[in-house]
Subunit: 511 residues, 2 copies
Amino acid sequence: MPQLGLLHGRAWTVFLGQLRRPPGAVCIRAVRSHSQGQKYLQVAEALFASQLKPQEKSNFIIKTPKGTRDLSPQQMVVREKILNVVVSCFKRHGAKGLDTPAFELKEILTEKYGEDSGLIYDLKDQGGELLSLRYDLTVPFARYLAMNKVKKMKRYHVGKVWRRESPTIVQGRYREFYQCDFDIAGQFDPMIPDAECLKIMCEILSELHLGDFLIKVNDRRILDGIFAVCGVPESKFHAICSSVDKLDKISWKDVRHEMVVKKGLAPEVADRIGDYVQCHGGISLVEQMFQDPRLSQNKQALEGLGDLKLLFEYLTVFGVAEKVSFDLSLARGLDYYTGVIYEAVLLQTPVHAEEEPLNVGSVAAGGRYDGLVGMFDPRGHKVPCVGLSIGVERIFSIVEQRMKTFGEKIRTTETQVFVATPQKNFLQERLKLIAELWDAGIKAELMYKNNPKLLPQLQYCENMGIPLVVIIGEQELKEGVIKLRSVPSREEVAIKRENLVAEVQKRLSES
Amino acid sequence: MPQLGLLHGRAWTVFLGQLRRPPGAVCIRAVRSHSQGQKYLQVAEALFASQLKPQEKSNFIIKTPKGTRDLSPQQMVVREKILNVVVSCFKRHGAKGLDTPAFELKEILTEKYGEDSGLIYDLKDQGGELLSLRYDLTVPFARYLAMNKVKKMKRYHVGKVWRRESPTIVQGRYREFYQCDFDIAGQFDPMIPDAECLKIMCEILSELHLGDFLIKVNDRRILDGIFAVCGVPESKFHAICSSVDKLDKISWKDVRHEMVVKKGLAPEVADRIGDYVQCHGGISLVEQMFQDPRLSQNKQALEGLGDLKLLFEYLTVFGVAEKVSFDLSLARGLDYYTGVIYEAVLLQTPVHAEEEPLNVGSVAAGGRYDGLVGMFDPRGHKVPCVGLSIGVERIFSIVEQRMKTFGEKIRTTETQVFVATPQKNFLQERLKLIAELWDAGIKAELMYKNNPKLLPQLQYCENMGIPLVVIIGEQELKEGVIKLRSVPSREEVAIKRENLVAEVQKRLSES
C-alpha cells in the first residue's frame, strides 16, 4: 500500500511550478486574421466569426470555469495514490463498487440539503427532463436503493460532485471535487456498522500519514433532546441547530448573541444550551449525560446516549476509542441525518517541525440517515443507512503542501525502458525493438524522430526516471546484440538480440 | 493483466437479472400521509410539499435521467477490468494522466463539433459564467495545452462525457458515457506517433478478446484531393464529405442519390467520386492511388498518400499492417481532423459459434488534428496532435453480452476472510478478531448481528465467494485457538489464536 508520508525526492520544484503559476489564463483573439492552415480550420473559424456578435469578436479568456481546475500529471499521481489508499480500505471492509450518473432528475435532489440547496448546479432546459448535477453521492445512493428495492448493501463510490460555492481555493475547496463515500444500508443490530464507519475513517487517516486527528461524534437525537429540555420551541430547533453548528468557527459568546438577538431565544434558554454544547470528552461524558437531571428525562436523548455508549464500547474493542471525542457542539449541516453524526479534524500540530500549520477543517465526515431512502420509496419503506465521506480534496492539498515542503520526487510515467540509438537511419530497428517490448507487456518509449542524437535520448531517461535503456547501432546490428544501459549506474552490457525481452524482464524484476 | 475472454463461472444469471429488469422506475407519492419517522424527515417533507404546485403533488417517477444509467456492482467489476486493460496499455506507451473539469466555458466548445454542436449539454445560467458539459476529451486537452503553453505531451484521460443524443441503448449508446483517450501532442517526424496510436488500438482490442477487428484508415487531405479532382465546388466539400461518411450505413446508390438530388452535385461528378470512395485495400491501394492520373495531380492528396505510405511501413514493422485497411470511404464526423483518420470496427463473425452476432459499430477511433490547439492560442501557434479514443461503452456491451452467453461468474467484493461464530454473545470477540485482520491489511467481513446463526454466515461466504472463515466459539475461546475453515473444501483446522494473522496470510498467499 503506498505510504504517502514516505515518498522521497525533490518533486517540489515541479510542484511549485505547477502551483504558483497564476490560474493560467491566456487571452486569445477568437478570430485570427493570420490563420492560414487547413481548410477545416478556416471553415470552423468562419462559422465561429459569423456567430459572434461584434463586441464579442475581441479577446476572450482561455481558462477553466470558476472554482474548477485541471489536474496536471504530477497532481494526478498524488491523487491516484490517495484514492488507492481510500479505495483499498473500502474494499478491505467488503464494499462493492457503484456508479451513478453525474446528473439526476432535479426533483430527486430537491429538499435534501437544507439551506445549501441553492448551491446545486442545474442544467439548462433544452427540452425533456429538468436535471441537476449531483451535490453529493449519498442522495444518488438512496435513490438507487429505493429504485431497485435494495434492502441491504455495503457500497463505495468515488466520483465528482458539484457545488456552486464561493471557492476559497487555498483551503482546498472547489466547485468541482471528488468524494469518496462508503455506506452501509440495511437493518442491523445497533451501532455495529456505525462503529465500522469510524474504524474506516481511522484506518484511512492513519495510512495517509496526515498527522494527528480527532473524530468528533454526536447524535442528532441528543441535540434535539438538549433543545427540548432547555426550552427551545420546536419551531426553532433547526435555526438553533445551525447556530450550534458554527461553534467550530466562532466563540460561544458570538453563537449565544446570534441565538438571542437574531433568532429571538430567551437568554436563559441560550445559557442552558451553552452549558451543554460546550462539553466534549470521551465515554465518561456519555455517562455524565446519562446522569444529567434534565437530559435523562428526554426519551430521544436517552436513545442517542444509549447508542453512543454502545458505540464507544465497540470503538474500544477496535482500539480507536482514544481517537474519538463526544462533542456536543457537533451538528453537521445536511438535513438528512437522523442519528449518530461524526466529523474528523486534523489537529493543528504540524507533523514535522519545518512544516507550516495548515488549517484544513474537517477531512472526513458522515453519520446515520435512516429516513432518506424512505423519501424515495412509494410506500415510504425505510432502509436505515450509515456512511462516511472522505474529503480527498483537502487531503490532496495537505499532501501537496507536504511534498512542496519536503521536495518529494514524483514520476509522472511508469516507463521502464527507453529504446535509443546513437546512429542515423535506425528508426525501423528501434520500432521493431519497441514493438517486441510492448508485446511482452513492458512499458517502453522512444523518441519520435528519424535521427535523434544520443545525448538527448539519455537525458530524457534521466529526467523522467526511466531505469533502463536499450541501445541499438551499427555495431550491435552487425554482432546480433543490443546494449542494455542502466540509467542510474550508467553501466552498459551487450546482450544477445534474441534475449532482449527475457533480460529486460529479469532486470526489472530485480530492481 | 485480466483477460476478459477467460473469465469463468455462472454470472449470467446475475447479469440477466440486472439487465432484463425494466429501467427500474418506481412511482412514489411525493408527499406521503402515513409518514411518522424522524422530525427531520417531516420538516423536509413539509418544505417539499409547500414548494410543489397541487398537480405536482401526485406521483413522480424515480429513475435516472434519460440515456443514463447506474452501474451495478457486477457491471462495475466488468468496467474496471476493461478500463484496467486500456489504462495499462496507455501507461505501457509512456502516457501521463490528466484530468479536466466536467464542464468548460461554453465558448471553448463552440464550433468544434460541426453539426453535432446541438448535442452539447448546457448548464443553466445561474449567474456567472456560461458553462457546458464536455462533449469529448479532445477539446479540453487542446484547451489545456494552449492555456499552459505545453508544446509536447503524451497523455491519457479516462472520464465521462455527455451528449444529448437519442439514446439507442441496445447498441451501447448513452447520453453519459466513458471515453478513454490517448493523445500525442508535439512536432515530430511524420507518422511515428500516428503509427503508435494504431498499434495501441490493436493491442487493446486484442487483449480484450473481442474477436476479429479491422482498422480503417484514410486521410482528410486525400478526401479533399478527391473532391477537388472530381470537380466538387469547394463550398460543397463539407456537405459531400458528410454524405461519404454515410457509406458504412447506406449503399453507394443511396449516397449518390443524396449527393445529386439533395446536395445538387452533377451526376458525373458523383460518379467520379464513387470510383474512388468505393475502394479499400492495403498498402498496394496507396501505391495505386499514387499512380492515379487525376489524384496524383493534387498536392494535398499526394501529401496524404505519402504519409499513408510511411504509416503502412511502420505498421508493417509493428506487425499490425494486416489489421489495417486503407478505406477511401472513411470520413469521420468531427470538424477538427486535419490528416490521418482511423476507426476500428469489429468484424461480424462471432468469436464462438454459440454467440449471436452483435452489431456494435466502431469500437475505437481517432486521427490527427493539427489545428485545434492553435484555435485556442492567442497567436495561433499550432501544436500538432494525434490521438485515439476507445469506445469502452460499446466494448462493455459486448463483454456483458459475452458473459451472459457463457454464464461467467463475477465476485463483486474482494473479501478474503469472514469472521463467524456458532454461539451467542460473541460479538466483542468477533470485533476484536476482525480488527486484527483489518489492521494487517486483510479484507474481512462479519455479520452485523449480535447473535447470528452459523448457517447464514457460512452461506453468505458461499454466495459471495469468500474463501476463508475464521470461527470463534466457547470451545475455541477456552483453548486459546480459533478455527480456520476453507469454504470450497469445508475443511476446518484449529490454530493458535496468536497465529491468526500469520496463518491467514499464509493461506491467502498459497491460493
